[in-house]
Amino acid sequence: MQFIGVLLDGIAYASLLFIISAGLSITMGLMQFANLAHGAFAMVGGYACVYGMNALGIPYLAMLPLAFLIAGVFGLVLELALYRRLYEASHLTQVLFTVGVLNVSAASAVFLFGAGSQPIHLPPYLQGQISFLDANISTFRLFTVVLVVAMAVVLASIVQLTRFGAQLRCAVDNRRAAIGMGINVDRLMTIAFTFGSALAGLGGALGVQLLGLDPSFAFKYLVYFLLVVVVGGAGSFVGPLLAALIVGILDTASRYYAPETGSFTLYLLMVALLVMFPNGLYGRAR
């Protein structure tokens, strides 16, 4: 029964894409901010994780929340110092700024950690395979899926059940009305940005094993993060989750069932979906 295995692999891949892209979806939806440097926060998490484990000997499971925190702090500082000044600027200025951040982050990573791919050595209990419904899946993938599902549940409850979530949904739907009702959208944005960066950092730390980590990480995977958010529809969690699942499962399945199609499947699918749903699967027309 390879089918279930392929499905599980696809879901694991999708989880990773989702956790890194979720924050991007919120910043793009809430402030219409085109943050091409979002992957840099995943990189911060990844490097923090590798450095903590290899140089300081901190165990992997402890490094994951730390990577979450460190990337969050990075996000908070950058948001307060730089990002927030450009919310009113044009999209193209934002592109210029975030491409600048991408360049700086790549060169800084080379300077601090050297060029080339970073090593990670997972603890033994996350290595190997386990059988699940007649199919084999790697333990680490299962761990990733479980962790991301847990995070997604937490996210969904925050957005759906808390006052903060209600404010966030309101601001995404209609920012001017939200401001008019006395919601402090700037503060909302700071929190959302910080949280999104932290999630990316966690994703980056998880991704060292599956995606790898080198100084060009943020640029290399930029297309994937954008793809998930734009196909899903910026401003929600459900859209990117749906898009990540479609991308992850279809990509994995096409590589198994039709490896000769290469990356054509993925990009043809993306173009087709966007032509059919110009605002994303879950987006609204603006």
Binding site: D9, I120, Q127, S138, D251
Partner: protein
């Protein structure tokens, strides 16, 4: 962070401080220095190791390296850099080149300006033919792959699956492996060409499992792909089911083996250089390399740069300080070297390198995963496309 910025400034200042005099021997080195690619640094360190062992003066001329960053396989950038190095910096020799397209673009400049050129990596077969003043101190992918196929066939693996990166070098190696392996009586159980942006190998591993193959040959030289594939192979337990993994040596460079765990031990690979090669030349080279590079391990790219320097010095010495393009190529095509990789000679017709290809097993030696050579194919020529 402040301190690090200052160091960057100092570094930039040092790099510009290389003021050259007229009688200096200038090398224009074109390679990737920025971003995630480490090849430029490996070449640079290989050259520094050569300076440490043989001095930076040859036939009375001080040798100066002018580095230029060509981070991607963009021929227009390489052509521009080569042209400026030749006409403005007046370099005596062009060198470097990780990628084939940049080597070809600079090769045209070398031909037009009659500047000798030494390729330190760019491993596509047959690129020297059009450039009369060019020699290559590296290898070709077909050259390192073919002996592995013969070894695999000889050692009882009858059914092999190939998985290669879907770009020209990958296809070269797939062709070389399949040709040699089928000729030696083996059967191919399947082949996959993996898109270059692939990060998740789970599906491919499942496909390999389905094929019930006895062995797998892989050529996925991008570090992330190499690492992810080997990990996925191992996680799926294929090695425990008796499926043997053999790879082209580029997949087991030191920066990749550093990311692997003990269960990668036993992977067989073939290449022209291992840092563990047992010879006096290599011991001296490794020691010099470590001392100039902050204790890094030399790679096949650094040994390519080291040997290119050796070729350059020998040509300059033979011409008493001059470097005539025609005479230099004459010298290079008939040259024999004792390289850190072993004995090296050149094919007088094609000018391409002839060298030993070693079959190696990944083992833990002095605490680090090392490719240990255990069988040698002597004086292998490039048998790729002509």
């Amino acid at each position: 962070m402040q301190a690090s910025f200052r160091t960057v400034v100092c570094l930039a200042a040092v790099l510009t401080a290389v003021a050259a005099r007229a009688d200096d021997l200038k090398i224009g080195l074109i390679a990737p220095f920025s971003g995630s690619e480490t090849a430029g640094l490996e070449m640079d360190n290989g050259i520094k190791a050569f300076f440490k062992l043989h001095g930076d003066v040859v036939a009375g001329r001080k040798v100066i390296v002018i580095s230029r960053d060509a981070p991607t396989p963009a021929p227009d950038v390489a052509r521009r850099l080569a042209q400026e190095l030749v006409t403005r910096d007046k370099v005596d020799v062009l060198a470097g080149h990780l990628f084939t397209p940049t080597a070809i673009a600079a090769g045209q400049v070398s031909t037009q300006s009659k500047t000798p050129m030494l390729i330190m990596n760019a491993a596509t077969s047959g690129i020297l033919a059009k450039f009369p003043y060019t020699a290559r101190a590296s290898f070709t992918v077909a050259q390192t792959t073919a002996p592995l196929a013969r070894w695999v066939a000889k050692n009882g693996m009858k059914r092999v699956f190939t998985i290669v990166a879907d770009y020209a070098p990958g296809i070269d190696s797939e062709n070389a492996f399949q040709r040699e392996f089928v000729e030696a009586g083996g059967t191919m159980t399947g082949s996959i060409r993996v898109p270059l942006d692939t990060i998740d190998f789970a599906s491919y591993i499942r496909r390999i499992q389905d094929s019930e193959t006895g062995g797998v040959f892989a050529f996925l030289p991008a570090p992330d792909q190499a690492k992810n594939f080997i990990k996925a192979f191992r996680d799926a337990g294929l090695d425990k089911k008796g499926v043997k993994l053999v790879v082209e040596g580029g997949m087991l460079q030191p920066q990749i083996t550093a990311t692997l765990d003990d269960d990668a031990i036993g992977i067989i690979s073939s290449q022209h250089y291992s840092e563990d090669h047992q010879s006096q030349e290599n011991m001296a080279f490794v020691e010099a390399y470590k001392s100039v590079s902050g204790n890094r391990i030399p790679t096949y790219i650094s040994v390519g740069a080291f040997d290119a320097m050796n070729m350059l010095y020998k040509a300059v010495e033979a011409q008493a300080g001059k470097l005539d393009p025609v005479k230099s190529v004459e010298i290079w095509r008939n040259m024999k070297l004792e390289s850190p990789r072993g004995p090296v000679s050149f094919d007088p017709q094609t000018r391409d390198i002839v060298q030993n290809i070693y079959i190696r097993r990944l083992e833990r030696k002095n605490g680090i995963l090392t490719n240990v050579e255990f069988e040698t194919y002597d004086a292998v020529k490039d048998n790729g496309k002509q």
